[in-house]
Symmetry: C2
Subunit: 449 residues, 2 copies
């Protein structure tokens, strides 16, 4: 029987971060990376296959750095993990003995419980190059496309489909909630995203529920709850994902049906030799340790790193808990955040103070391509002054500005801390030092505390 020191099952963000960490920390260990797809796609890059990149093969994570480091990449389906004998059993009858194992099987897209989701040219998004090519082939001749779900995937897919060379005549984005991106972003930033989508030629239909999808063999229309019928050659569904725990359950590893593979803060599962990381693993909130539904590649990468470190370490590292740090770009605007939203603070009855700032993303604002109104909004706990979340809407540096916020939230800094700090500024790259949004937003909160 073939054996390995560490078997990683699942080759996306968590699995790759685990492999990278093992190569860095335990270069003497034999690593096997098991996946059920021939190539690994860049998960967050999938929408860009359809517009900016124009081809599936431009969105592949190359294997060579792993192969060169001696990682054994196995493209097979795993039937079960025989934990008593520490053996992975593949569906072709082959086996692989392991010493430690990392489960990083990711998530499975939700399907809405409606008629017609099984019609031809109705697609969820799977991280499989062949599947993504099938979607591209269907989109190329399409004239009417309906995207169901206005979260990150739906918004980015709709925006990129609008940039296809063979652009469909009608692209509609259907969202149940009053706004796109509403669970992650501040409401006024959602409005910015919607305006950008409209400008890109996407018809944004919020407060709209889908009742059914109709067609003979192939999709023809999408029926809304209010009776409207939308013509559709292709339907793309992006309404969220559930932890993929099938293998874990089959193998007798403790799972929560909704939350995922049960893990400790060190990411150990109910089997001490097995760790879980990424979308398949249970999440705790950074803020209160309660179960969290946030699933992001940034969390997966962090968890993969922590889980892999812990496999052979005396001192076990612990995850800080799921924060929710993300970024997106819609049209000309980038939107990014870390931590809680105003809406979430209200829902949780938190007593918060909000500081805002707006400044040009370059200074002076007369510089070519300056975005005059790059906004930052910081949400602080009133009693302690502690930063709970921050949101950015503006130029392409929004994501890294959100990372300054992410660091501040995770370091549990206060409005006073942020208001006293010094920040790097430059005419072509940031707001002016006097207007710098993090400092000013913190000051604006501070005077309310």
């Amino acid at each position: 029987m073939n054996t390995t020191d560490v078997a990683i099952i699942g080759g996306s963000a968590a699995g790759l971060a685990a492999a990278t960490t093992l190569m860095r920390r335990y270069p003497e260990k034999r690593i096997s990376l098991i996946r059920n797809v021939t190539q690994t796609v860049v998960p967050c890059g999938i929408p860009y296959v359809y517009g900016t990149l124009g081809a599936v093969n431009k969105n592949i994570i190359p294997d060579n750095q792993f192969r060169d480091a001696g990682v054994n990449i196995i493209t097979k389906h795993v039937n079960v993990i025989d934990r008593d004998n520490k053996v992975v059993e593949f569906d072709d009858g082959e086996t692989l003995g392991y010493d430690k194992l990392i489960l990083s099987t990711g998530s499975k897209p939700f399907l809405p419980p409606i008629d017609g989701v099984d019609l031809t040219n109705v697609f969820c998004i799977h991280k499989d190059p062949a599947h993504l090519q099938t979607i591209l082939d269907a989109l190329n001749p399409a004239q009417n496309v309906v995207v169901i779900g206005g979260g990150f995937i739906g918004v980015e897919m709709a925006e990129q489909i609008a940039r296809m060379e063979s652009r469909p005549a009608h692209i509609r984005l259907v969202e149940m909630l009053p706004h796109c991106l509403m669970t992650a972003c501040e409401e006024e930033y959602c409005v910015v995203a919607e305006k950008e989508l409209e400008r890109e030629g996407v018809e944004v239909m919020t407060n709209c529920q889908v009742k059914a999808i109709h067609g003979d063999s192939g999709v023809q229309t999408v029926e809304l709850a209010d009776g409207r019928q939308l013509d559709a050659d292709v339907v793309v569904i992006g309404i969220g994902a559930a932890p993929n725990i099938e293998l874990a359950e089959r193998s007798g590893i403790a799972c929560d049906a909704r939350g995922g593979v049960k893990v400790s803060r060190t990411l150990q599962t109910s089997d001490p030799a097995i760790y879980a990381a990424g979308d398949c693993a249970e999440k705790f909130s950074f803020f209160n340790g309660e179960p969290s539904a946030i699933r992001l590649a940034s969390i997966a990468a962090s968890e993969g790193t922590i889980a892999a470190s812990n496999l052979y370490a005396d001192t076990q590292r612990e995850t800080l808990g799921a924060l929710g740090a993300f970024a997106t770009k819609v049209g000309t605007r980038s939107i990014a955040a870390a931590g809680i939203t105003t809406q979430a603070a209200k829902q949780q009855n938190l007593d918060v103070v909000i500081g805002e700032a707006v400044a040009s993303n370059m200074h002076p604002g007369s510089l070519p391509n300056a975005i005059a109104d790059m906004r930052v909004k910081l949400i602080f706990e009133r009693q302690t002054g502690r930063l709970l979340g921050g949101h950015v809407c503006g130029g392409d540096s929004s994501a890294e500005l959100a990372n300054a916020i992410a660091v501040a939230v995770q370091a549990q800094l206060t409005a006073n801390d942020l208001s006293l700090m010094q920040y790097a500024t430059h005419p072509l790259l940031t707001a002016s030092p006097v207007m710098y949004q993090l400092m000013v937003a913190a000051e604006n909160a501070l005077i309310q505390l």
Copy 2:
């Protein structure tokens, strides 16, 4: 006699931050902003007047937000502060009584102690629109330009002069040290900047000392210590600046000849009614509290905010000390940093561990305009793991990424802290979550600790 509640003397970064803070915190106070120039230029924007902006009047900070808030802007030269009577005396004989005063008189450019610095068309950079226009008028017909000094101002001026519509045939940048930007940047990033300058058509002459400047009335040549003569129609000198303490000294406020106006951590001067902020004020190092020569607009903005807050506050805010957070862009590359350099760590005999990471600034790297090698270098104290400094070289998001580092340094975070945090990533805006440079650089340092 006219009176005011707060007199601010000096209208650049520190003075404007002070005025903004007073408007925010003490809206009932009467504010007078005194400056000796008709308009305030964006200080860091000065180099861009010559290339990207093309006009001095595009680099002006508008007064209206201050005037609209009732700030009295006085364009006069101050002779002396009569501190006994709390009166500012102007050179036209007028006076202004004050309750509190903020000194933000900035810095004066150094002149090298060589012959010829007083020749026509030999310029230092003053923050005065009329003066900047004179330089532009001289540069427009120039064929041979020599920039003396390879710090930020010199590098940015040379790069922008190379982008003038009436581009001089020869632009030479003369630097005494082995590299441009060497006191602020990592050596290998200095090399990147030099390559970008060369690509922009600037001849970079390092290890070169200027012996004299020659000409009849107007400059004709620059003579180097090795005897070489460089043709020059215009010479721009940017070799640093000294605190402008003339008024403080004339008014009997305690000063250190090299360090500037003496201040406490609360930025109070030897006169309890007078605070000082910005380039004119003494600086302490963020790291050890020792006198520091770092002078940046980001420090000035922070100090102006702190000083203004303290004027009428029971609880006095204290400056964290000068950190050194900056950013620049040379050609296609942006370079940014916060905290100490490897070179400074060596000079101070600090025992440090360095973690580096390199990744594309977008993911996948096949995206249009991706910069394949965006680098981050983090410098940690070995004994404590504490972050002392970080450096970034890559795309335009470098400055905000350096601000994540700035926050981390000022929050005294460790390599372990940074390696466990989650960061916002997006294909169009950052490296991939698995390769994200802050996390990976921290991990790479951690395995050496």
